[in-house]
């Protein structure tokens, strides 16, 4: 391989690992200081996006926009809490809402849906204000389960092949056929749903159906159901930024469709969160080091190693979340 290509590959992948490391300065649970500035999300991104000039993306040999490469995730508080909030505790720093529509940044639940959401929130057992004191559910991600839409909010590598867009992640992947085939029957439900993509101009539009309604958006129990349909839009806003937008439709629990927006950046580009963190048991202030394996994803095996957590939550009396069943 030529020196130039080698350096380019190294440059592109050299900080790949960073985006996919477990949260925190050097792995493990991220602990945030109270004085952390409010983390920007949908509103700030849409303001930034409005100022961007039109962008004509490079294209693959098939003539579709080339979205390939390594992309950061939504960043922020690690999907602790989806709606706008101030500092709550060490795992939940202040952050703007992921929700851009409705304008108040709140998921537009129906009255029944909101009551259900509040019931889950009051039963988290985290010592948050307003809790009932009863332990209801913990986030399915605490059990190392993986699902949509959460997977789409993580760092990943996009690979395009004729008829498919493939998204490779740290623990898992997603394959989106773009060859026009119909989705699987809605009778078959999945944690990742069933994805079908097509191009509209420069935007990859992905319809996700067959969700099983078992996953949470965040750690506070914002939920969807097996009636929910997602529409994602992936578009290059500039050479280093993907404009990611996703809309959720579910008349059984949402009064109207609602939308999330955030940017995804190539590693080493765009604003990054700095500071605000407390140390964790694997040092915060570790000096930088040259990692020849920086571009590689190494085994996570989260479920296999997650022995004490589920046992502890079960002993504390938490119930297993089986999704919500809206009234007919």
């Amino acid at each position: 391989m030529s020196q130039q290509i080698f350096a380019a590959v190294t440059t592109l992948t050299v900080v790949f690992c960073v985006l996919l490391l477990a949260p925190g300065p050097a792995g493990g649970q991220a602990f945030w200081r109270e004085d952390t500035p409010k983390i920007p999300m949908a509103a700030s991104w849409l303001a930034e996006k409005a100022e961007l000039p039109p962008y004509n993306p490079p294209r693959t040999a098939d003539g579709v926009p080339d979205l390939q490469g390594v992309w950061g995730g939504s960043g922020g508080d690690g999907l602790s809490y989806l709606e706008e909030h101030e500092y709550v505790d060490v795992t939940t720093p202040a952050q703007e809402s992921f929700v851009s529509d409705p304008a108040d940044g709140k998921i537009p639940y129906t009255p029944w849906g909101l009551a259900k959401r509040n019931e889950i929130l009051a039963g988290l057992g985290r010592g948050w204000p307003g809790e009932s004191g009863e332990r209801l559910y913990s986030s399915p991600s605490a059990f190392c389960l993986h699902y949509m839409p959460r997977f789409s909010l993580s760092a990943l590598e996009i690979v395009q092949r004729p008829g498919s867009v493939i998204m490779l992640g740290e623990e898992g992947y997603r394959v989106i056929p773009t060859d026009g085939r119909p989705p699987i029957s809605e009778e078959a439900k999945f944690w990742f749903g069933n994805s079908r993509g097509h191009w509209e101009g420069d935007t990859l539009v992905v319809e996700v159906t067959s969700l099983n309604g078992r996953g949470w958006f965040d750690s506070t129990g914002h939920y969807y159901t097996e009636n929910t349909r997602m529409t994602e839009r992936w578009r290059l806003a500039d050479e280093n930024t993907i404009d990611y937008e996703v809309t959720f439709v579910d008349p059984t629990v949402y009064a109207r469709p609602w939308t999330m927006n955030f940017p995804r950046r190539r590693p080493g580009t765009g604003p990054n969160m700095r500071g605000g963190r407390i140390t964790s048991a694997v040092a915060a202030n570790a000096p930088a080091f040259e990692d020849p394996y920086a571009g590689e994803i190494w085994e996570d095996a989260c479920y296999e190693g997650n022995r004490e957590g589920p046992a502890s939550l079960r002993a504390l009396g938490y119930k297993w979340f089986r999704g919500v069943t809206p009234p007919q």
């Binding site: 389960l145 993986h146 394959v175 085939r181 590689e296 022995r307 004490e308 297993w320």
Partner: protein, 287 residues
Amino acid sequence: MTDREAISYDLLAVSITGGSPVRHWFLRLMFGLAAICALTPMPSVGQTTATTPYTPLRTVDGHPDLQGIWQVVNTAAWDLEAHPASLGVPAGHSVVEGGAIPYQPSALAKKKDNFEQRATLDPETKCYLPGVPRITYMPYPFRIIQQADKVSIAYEYLRAIRYIYMNGNPHPPGPIDWWMGDSRGRWEGNTLVVDVIHFNDQTWFDRAGNFHSDALHVIERYTPTGPDHLLYEATIEDSNVFSRPWKISMPLYRRQEANSELLEYQCPAYLLEQEWDNPASTLFDEH
């Protein structure tokens, strides 16, 4: 040239010369060559003859293209060695070269113990990652994706993903205990050769209790043998358990259905849900 070809040659010669047999040596030579070329099947890209190996299509990087959705069709998942049928278990021939796995005597005793207690000891029953090569012959499809710096194999089973790096990096130094090991790949002709080390000792090779230690070393070979077939071979070395290296081999079949895709098998979710409300569950016992 066969008799049939010789007759065709003569007929061709007669038709061109308007009835008179061709006598001029040059025309005979030309007709002969033309007949040979027309009548001998030539291997072209994507075809096989009995004697020449298959020449696969190539990726844009110039490497053999092994991409697509593949699956095994055999009983290796139940038992690598020859075995009879029993309730829920189909009979099968051995996929092990030579038939039997060459255990050291004390290891063979442990294998038999494993077999007796497989209902509780098999790590598959806890939905753990199955290791290599077992993940290849689990009865679920997988997809090979090739890029410049790596080959990725995406498995429907557990939504597992293996990254086989081909970026010039050697294995990182050990000891490292990974369920799926550390995979480094290279090309030998049309074969993708994958060297895998850094395993823990927690996985089995099948549901029959065949096992290994953390010294396991696996060398996989993926070789295209036709447009819809790969030959999968895996050499297994573990001086703590076996008296010599041994090898398995099996075809991989390209899934033919137009709607073929990887769905999902999120085993931990199903198991945790089942066991959560079971007061007698042992799944959550502290180790």
